[in-house]
């Protein structure tokens, strides 16, 4: 056979070659480890070094949070002893404040109910296989915020009025983050569309707006919202401090999202617009049904990045004297009863773990969503 191919131009295959297994592919955990962790001497050394570093870090955390931890006690005395780890009795005494802030104790069922409603409307929304998505979206975006607003502020239906100044802790963190996320996304979409508009006035307005908010640090925005805004307001008119912070955060994130989304819009081929137009879809149908879904899907990582940053930036509301989770933890550290060398460490440990859990959750969910939304290979 080979002779034939080598010595003359004409060649006809007589037997077809069968497909064979690819060489050098072994399966199972051992083969995987051999290939990826112990491929060479340097690989092996790096593997051991990496494992050692991870083990050391994990040990530090476990040692602090569990092994050396103090579990019971009436006050800071027990945590003041030499070599004590995390001071859990302090967290036990304070965790309600971490969650609710200074919300009146007898009214705390109201934020609790809000948390429950939040979970009850968000969880089914986040699971694609649960039916009634339309109703669910309505409940989450319209019913839940309205109900929560009246539940938390009170003053109606016989509920005692609770000023936003006493709200705090995780409640404030979640309110600021959630409102920021829910309001900034549509706002960012509109800004992104506006920046690509054919109408010069709209385009210029959007550019000025985006560049203004991106050019100013969030701290400045919050300061301005709390100190300068009242100067421009008619005398006697007062806008709630929390509301001001919410608007500031939403506009700020909206401007960032606009640019992220614009990046996605630029990646949509012209043919998609033409295909939509040729079918007779109008501008908003084309954008809403064809262009935006694809653009948003493409920039999920960037959008979630903004949301995670927003979530962490909620801690900045402290400077306009709103007490979010971190603010409450910090405030609690001044309590003389619980003062000890490890109280601060424990408090910040709790803050870090809480923030990490939320942010990591968002990150994982978005990655899962990205995979789910992938439709076939691209050409």
């Amino acid at each position: 056979m080979t002779d034939a191919t080598q010595h003359s131009g004409a060649y006809v295959r007589e037997t077809l070659a069968e497909a064979r297994e690819a060489p050098g592919r072994f399966f199972g955990p051992i083969a995987w480890m051999r290939q990826h962790l112990f491929g060479s001497v340097i690989d092996t050394l790096l593997t051991f070094l990496g494992v050692a570093i991870i083990a050391w870090l994990a040990w530090q955390v476990i040692d602090f949070a569990f092994l050396r931890a103090v579990w019971t006690g009436e006050n800071g005395e027990v945590c003041r002893k030499e070599g004590a780890g995390a001071c859990w009795p302090y967290v036990e005494a304070y965790w309600k404040q971490f969650v609710y802030g200074r919300y009146p104790i007898e009214e705390r069922w109201r934020p609790t109910l809000v948390f429950a409603l939040f979970a009850a409307t968000l969880v089914p929304l986040a699971i694609p296989s649960v039916p009634y998505k339309r109703l669910n979206v309505f409940l989450f975006l319209v019913a839940f915020p309205v109900v929560s607003f009246f539940l938390l502020t009170g003053g109606v239906f016989g509920l005692v009025e609770v000023e936003t100044t006493v709200w705090g802790g995780l409640l404030v963190t979640l309110i600021v983050a959630l409102t920021g996320i829910v309001c900034s996304l549509p706002f960012g979409i509109l800004l992104a569309l506006g920046r690509r508009s054919k109408l010069p006035i709209i385009r210029i307005l959007c550019i000025v707006f985006i560049e203004f908010w991106r050019g100013v640090p969030l701290i400045t925005v919050l300061f301005m919202a709390s100190n300068m805004l009242p100067l421009f307001m008619p005398a006697g008119m007062e806008v709630d401090k929390l509301l001001r912070a919410l608007i500031g955060v939403a506009l700020f994130t909206g401007a960032y999202l606009a640019e992220t989304i614009r990046g996605g819009l630029q990646a949509i081929p012209k043919g998609q617009y033409e295909g939509a137009m040729a079918l007779g879809l109008g501008y908003w149908q084309m954008m809403g049904l064809i262009v935006m879904p694809q653009a948003l899907k493409m920039v999920i990582p960037g959008i979630v990045n903004s949301f995670i940053s927003l979530f962490k930036d909620t801690t900045l509301v402290l400077i306009v004297s709103l007490f979010d989770l971190l603010g409450m933890i910090q405030a609690s550290l001044a309590d003389p009863i619980w003062i000890s060398p490890v109280t601060g460490k424990t408090g910040y440990f709790v803050a870090a773990v809480t923030f990490w859990v939320f942010c990591f959750g968002m990150s994982r969910y978005s990655q899962w969503m990205e995979r789910r939304l992938a439709t076939g290979h691209k050409r």
Binding site: A278, L279, G280, L281, I290, T375, G376, K378
Partner: protein, 261 residues
């Protein structure tokens, strides 16, 4: 310009004729300073099949894209199915509902299934109930012989299949006129036939078609007229046998000698 009897008859009927599907009179278009369409005069009767060919960059795409306002013309008149194209957005929508278009690169919506690609415009433009829309879509998907792919995404189909979906998607809107812009140019050779067969079937049913293509076999088989464009102008138009056997203009001869070997 050489006119066949058909064109002469069509033109004699004038702008008011209800017999015309597309009427272009003295159409001009510029991209900036670049004069891309020059004095285009073209009348297409209802049911007529036109094949447009010409060198790359001669303005073929631009011309047929003017018909459904994907491009705007700056001088002259374009009347589609009795409706004149103007700035009026309502009329543009009306015309787009009557005119289907198939593109070189399919332009399917990758985030929607084949079925959703087909039902989208029925549901949102024609306001048809979803169920009914799906029946219509399945009908046309069956016609292009890929009903079994309905639940897949465009990225999972071969080029030929995608282009047939694109044809079905246009047909769902029951267009009166179909525009094809090099529908087989992006396909692997073995897939060209399945798309051309679909187009031939459509032609045999009496659809008014304007096809930009270099598939000369297709032109011979279905075209009532072949139009040759160069440098933004219609250089020559004739019925296919005469067009291929006896091209009159030097540029047509040169072009045909290059593509027919």
């Amino acid at each position: 310009m050489i006119k066949t009897d058909d064109t002469i008859v069509a033109q004699a009927n004038g702008a008011l004729s209800t017999d015309l599907a597309v009427e272009m009179r003295g159409v001009n278009k510029w991209y900036g300073d670049f004069h891309v369409l020059k004095e285009i005069d073209l009348q297409v009767r209802k049911g007529e099949k036109i094949v447009i060919c010409g060198p790359s960059g001669s303005g073929k795409s631009t011309m047929i894209r003017c018909i459904n306002r994907l491009e705007e013309h700056q001088a002259g008149r374009i009347i589609v199915d009795g409706i004149e194209l103007t700035e009026d957005l309502k009329r543009i929508d009306e015309i787009r509902r009557d005119v289907g278009m198939v593109f070189q690169h399919f332009n399917l919506f990758p985030h929607l299934t084949i079925l959703e690609n087909c039902t989208l415009a029925l549901i949102w433009v024609k306001k048809m109930p979803k169920k009914e829309a799906e029946e219509v879509a399945m009908h046309y998907l069956t016609r292009v012989r890929i009903p079994e792919q309905a639940k897949k995404y465009p990225g999972q189909l071969s080029g030929g299949q995608q282009q047939r979906v694109a044809i079905a998607r246009s047909l769902c809107m029951s267009p009166k006129i179909m525009l094809f812009d090099e529908p087989t140019s992006a396909l692997d050779p073995e897939m060209v036939k399945e798309v051309l067969d679909t187009m031939v079937g459509l032609a045999n049913e009496g659809m008014t078609m304007l096809c930009v293509t270099h598939e000369m076999g297709f032109a011979r088989q279905v075209a009532d007229r072949v139009i040759f464009m160069d440098a933004g102008q219609i250089i020559e138009a004739n019925e296919p046998n005469a067009f291929f056997a006896d091209p009159r203009h030097e540029r047509t001869k040169l072009f045909l000698s290059q593509i027919l070997h």
